[in-house]
Symmetry: C2
Amino acid sequence: MAGSDLTLRPFLWRAANLFPEKEVVSRTHRGRERYTYGAFDDRVNALANALDALGVGPGARVGTLGWNHHRHFEAYYAVPLMGAQLHTVNVQLSDDHTEYIVNDAADDLLLVDPGGPVETLERVWDDLESPRAVVVMDEETPALDVDVSVHAYEDLLADHAGAYGWPDLDESQPAAMCYTSGTTGRPKGVEYTHKMMYAHAMMVMTPAALDVAEGDVVMPVVPMFHVNSWEFPFAATMIGAKQVYPGPSPDAETLVSLIRDEGVTLTAGVPTVWINVLDYLDEHDESVPSLERIVVGGSAAPEAVMRRYEDEYGVVIDHAWGMTETMSIGSVSRPKSTMAGLDSDEIYAKRAKQGLLSPGLEMKVVDAEAGERVPWDGESAGELYVRGATVTRAYYDRPEANAEEFEDGWLKTGDIVTVDGDGYIDVVDRAKDVIKSGGEWISSIELENALMGHDAVAEAAVVAVDHAKWRERPVAYAVRAAGEDVTGAKLREFLADDFPTWWLPDNVVFVESVPKTATGKFDKKRLREETDDPDLVWTPGK
Amino acid sequence: MAGSDLTLRPFLWRAANLFPEKEVVSRTHRGRERYTYGAFDDRVNALANALDALGVGPGARVGTLGWNHHRHFEAYYAVPLMGAQLHTVNVQLSDDHTEYIVNDAADDLLLVDPGGPVETLERVWDDLESPRAVVVMDEETPALDVDVSVHAYEDLLADHAGAYGWPDLDESQPAAMCYTSGTTGRPKGVEYTHKMMYAHAMMVMTPAALDVAEGDVVMPVVPMFHVNSWEFPFAATMIGAKQVYPGPSPDAETLVSLIRDEGVTLTAGVPTVWINVLDYLDEHDESVPSLERIVVGGSAAPEAVMRRYEDEYGVVIDHAWGMTETMSIGSVSRPKSTMAGLDSDEIYAKRAKQGLLSPGLEMKVVDAEAGERVPWDGESAGELYVRGATVTRAYYDRPEANAEEFEDGWLKTGDIVTVDGDGYIDVVDRAKDVIKSGGEWISSIELENALMGHDAVAEAAVVAVDHAKWRERPVAYAVRAAGEDVTGAKLREFLADDFPTWWLPDNVVFVESVPKTATGKFDKKRLREETDDPDLVWTPGK
């Protein structure tokens, strides 16, 4: 009765057979390269032959430390399709975390970019327990002081050309694995089966999610080590779209030139990238006429940035929300067709949210303390719970975390949200960052966004500090913009326009920079630890 | 690790919760009705309560004999989501086939439309073995001479309002079932699991297949008893599109008024429907400004019809191909973005084919006699084999058919196709209709399409007749258009412009009408049986 198992094989098949002439463009440290899906297919087959020769068999785990380029893209297919598992490691982690993650996953072989990632590998090598071989994703091998065989990627492919006989796989076979950034405790691994990858990439393609079409030219700027680059390498391949991989640490100039030269229509990444690109466009009086949409996730893009992209460059920014545990994209914010009559402010109020839950998912919003669901009124906040075929139901080898983060088949996302009457999710805080003062919630994110809307503030993070009477009070850490000398009192006055008095931070501490996690988010855990100073909060009579 | 099972529950959840205000419009024999997805959700819950009260439990099979309307749409959700199986029976079958199919599936309960379907039920009732209750999809019950309880649908819903607690289902649970039209032998049942339904509806939504968006207004004219109305009731619900169900036997006037009144943007059905609508538009000087796309399947639309829709009414016809065994849509024909430079004739040459295989599928084209794959050169013909998550791997309870129709995980579609260098499938014949003359294939479909392109021919079917020397020779059966008296010799001359001499039918037999199957296709099996006359073929010297 049932059809074949849901695996990634048809993704490669469709691009290789129906779009063999369409292009993949890749920027590496050596320059820009290009080939067709036909050539891509040949190289994916050769890579599988090579990995096979190196002892990678079904169930093996292949770690990667790499940026967004064609070789990494080839590994995205060769490894899962041969029945092994692709474990993408964030190249921007601390050495400690890199070591922990590679050991926890027990990676059998590592594919590593030249440059920074190879240097990281050398530093942590003595503490790694499992890798039996290293492949450097380049034409040649640097002198590398490790005690296993080291291969140049291109040598391997040249030596192992020819068709690989892709096996029929079980859909419950793990295809990929990513670790969460670990803002609390040790990083946690999330495994993705073939079935989950298939279901999520299909969902990403639909008009309700990212709406990827064959005529699009897709440039995933979100790193390939961040939840499979939000699944673009799978969705775009299946649909037959031209793809552009922007390589190691692309700066704004690089991104703009790739967009212009290659006719990119759709791209994706965190807000910082697109703020830099906007500045670059302004300063250099450049334009990006082919570009239609930017999908922004990780955190929210400022509304002013969204408006300027649309008004000045004709580019729409689509907010998206997701987590490692939801395989990236779990919601996208676009106005409904029924909102055609709304004015620009009302539309942007919707676009600024995280939007509508993606097809295949279900959600509820829970006030954990009260033990009940909160209404969808755009005001009441609670923790977002989600479930569905593309939501993991367990971490890799972490039973204690499973007990905490899942409940009756639901993932407790840790995001505090409101949902409005139209069903739009708005993330107002992380559960662990929320400030509970006098029994009421204060949103650290709303205060931060407001502070960063002040011209004199470059960055701001707001955390809770213990308070005898109110239990917790907000304190802001702010970085002044260059040449500015704004005071804490002025900033409190500024906030008082939009927030009730009891929301205003008791203190504003000016710092040189706000500490960040490996994924570029404010490291509030560290802030809280480093600044656990009762004098920071204002006490009546003191 | 793995996510939740892939079931249809999130399809209902998303429409009910994120688009509760959007409309479903339904034409019944009583007139046009409309409600919202919110009300739809309430009624689906009530229907599940009612079916539960009638003894329908997990694993039960609920047969339907109904047209496209809101009650049938409600059954599409209530039955699978409660863990039972929806078996849609073609209301245009002969009594014999209806009886055979209901007995073969052992339907526990029947949901039946008033009018023709109720009359069919009365005629065959004494031969039915399994149904324990009948529900008439109407406000009241006709006097019905059956020996089980008979209920009016609306009475049941009124008596069973309230939320139904949808269970967590196993994705391998059968959700639906359809029978193939059975042009050879007895009809064969195909069961669809929840996972298959999920995967196919998601695929249908993608821009590579039907590209269904939230802003679309979708009117499925293809009957709900034809392979789940090509999955529109699932794809359109998940995406939150307004839906319009055109009711029993809609004529061209009805369809045009629904399109105009409801702002339909996307519709679907067999070519005959759209040829009638085109005639109606021409005769009444009407237009359909909201309509953007018509998906045509079942058989090919004449190119002239496609051109006139686009040129005169701004409506694009997308050819699609599929089978009961592939859950309907398996390919769609649209030009690739890389074909932007082609001229109109070249574009229509692509559009006239069945197009590119849909995401998630793989195919090969096989010359069964030679036992090898045929090249994708647009010339070489062979049988299309497909496989994938949305392709069944077995018929219901028909082991002998399974041995014949499947091979190493591939479905042998029975369609003889060519595939061109761009990957576009062109169905040139059905394997069992193909004519093998002197060792070479002659396409009956190409000859038929050419004959029907002649002004004096209303219908034409071409079949093989045995021949001593050439083994088989083509013979045409043609229906003259009103007032025409064209001869067979003239038609052979006409065909000689486009086909080699040895392709020309040895004889043209003029008939009053070409016999048809229950799904409206030419019944060539019957033609061959009825006309097995060696005198029809031309023999040298005779």
